[in-house]
């Protein structure tokens, strides 16, 4: 019984308590924090970019992009050379055909 009473007393010990306040000049401290945060945003961006791991990773990405671009350029130039050769032979064939048909037409007219 005594124990129960004591626990109820403890549980109701916050009844009628007053609100705590953060103290004077709280707004000034919030303003200072806002200003600190604004400057530290740029600071943290610079710190992040200049981290050795980030710099190394960026260099690796640039290197890989260059390698990929070079590879694609080489394969596309190879295929364009092949296309050109094919086109040339096709043109030659067409010229021969045209010459032959001209010859055939002339002989038929005679």
């Amino acid at each position: 019984m005594e124990k129960r009473k004591e626990i109820v007393k403890i549980l109701s010990s916050l009844d009628g308590m007053e609100k705590a306040s953060p103290g004077d000049f709280f707004f000034t401290r919030v303003q200072a924090r806002l200003q600190r945060q604004e400057t530290s945003t740029w600071g943290s961006i610079t710190a992040f970019v200049t981290r050795p791991t980030v710099a190394l990773a960026t260099l690796c990405i640039i290197f890989l992009l260059n390698a990929a671009a070079l590879f694609y350029q080489r394969t596309s130039s190879n295929s364009s050379v092949a296309d050109q050769l094919e086109q040339n032979s096709a043109d030659d064939y067409n010229t021969t055909l045209a010459a032959n048909s001209y010859y055939d037409e002339n002989t038929e007219a005679r």
């Binding site: 124990k3 403890i10 009628g16 609100k19 306040s21 709280f26 919030v30 924090r33």
Partner: protein, 186 residues
């Protein structure tokens, strides 16, 4: 006031801070049980208010929105502190960190009546052990004096689940306080 702040009015921000600072600080203090941490979190809350006021649509009351930010920031603060503590403990195990881990002293809320100081300290010790949701609901109800409806709006849940949360919180507190009583009277 909110519309004025959305337009970047510094004076509107000052009015909002001075109007709600006690509410925000008192809630944070109830959850964190440290004046220093509560001040830190209260500042963080108003910085977030300043930066994300444009996301406040006015669907709920400004006080509800402020309570939500405060409780989530306070819980984040506790989690961060626990992580730091665990890390310091692991470092101490490997002998990398020779700093002594200091246990925080008993918390005395400045608003508690002098006669209830000792009992309130025991109660705060027990509140600290409550699971996050129960702790938030109990603090909002007992320290901020909010009713179930208001708490349900802040915690974005139903009134019946708040009732159940508070019931479980009180049961847990009773259990721990019985243990304290038994130890005291051994």
């Amino acid at each position: 006031m909110v519309d004025q702040l959305k337009q970047g009015d510094e004076n509107a921000f000052k009015i909002i801070v001075t109007t709600w600072q006690d509410m925000v600080y008192n809630t944070a203090l109830g959850i964190l049980q440290s004046a220093e941490d509560a001040e830190d979190v209260a500042q963080e809350v108003f910085v977030q208010v300043y930066e994300s006021i444009h996301t406040f649509k006015g669907e709920s009351k400004l006080s509800t929105w402020l309570y939500r930010i405060t409780t989530s920031k306070a819980l984040d603060h506790i989690r961060r502190k626990k992580r730091k503590k665990r890390f310091a403990f692991v470092q101490a195990l490997f002998g990398e960190n020779n700093e002594i881990i200091i246990q925080p002293p008993d918390f005395h809320h400045p608003g508690v009546v002098l006669d209830n100081k000792e009992n309130a300290t025991a109660l705060f010790k027990a509140i600290e052990k409550l699971p996050e949701n129960q702790k938030i609901a109990f603090v909002l109800n007992k320290i901020e004096g909010l009713n179930y409806q208001e708490i349900s709006e802040i915690m974005e849940t139903t009134v019946s689940s708040i009732e159940s949360l508070l019931h479980r919180a009180k049961n847990n507190l009773r259990k721990w306080l019985q243990g304290v009583y038994n130890n005291k009277n051994k």
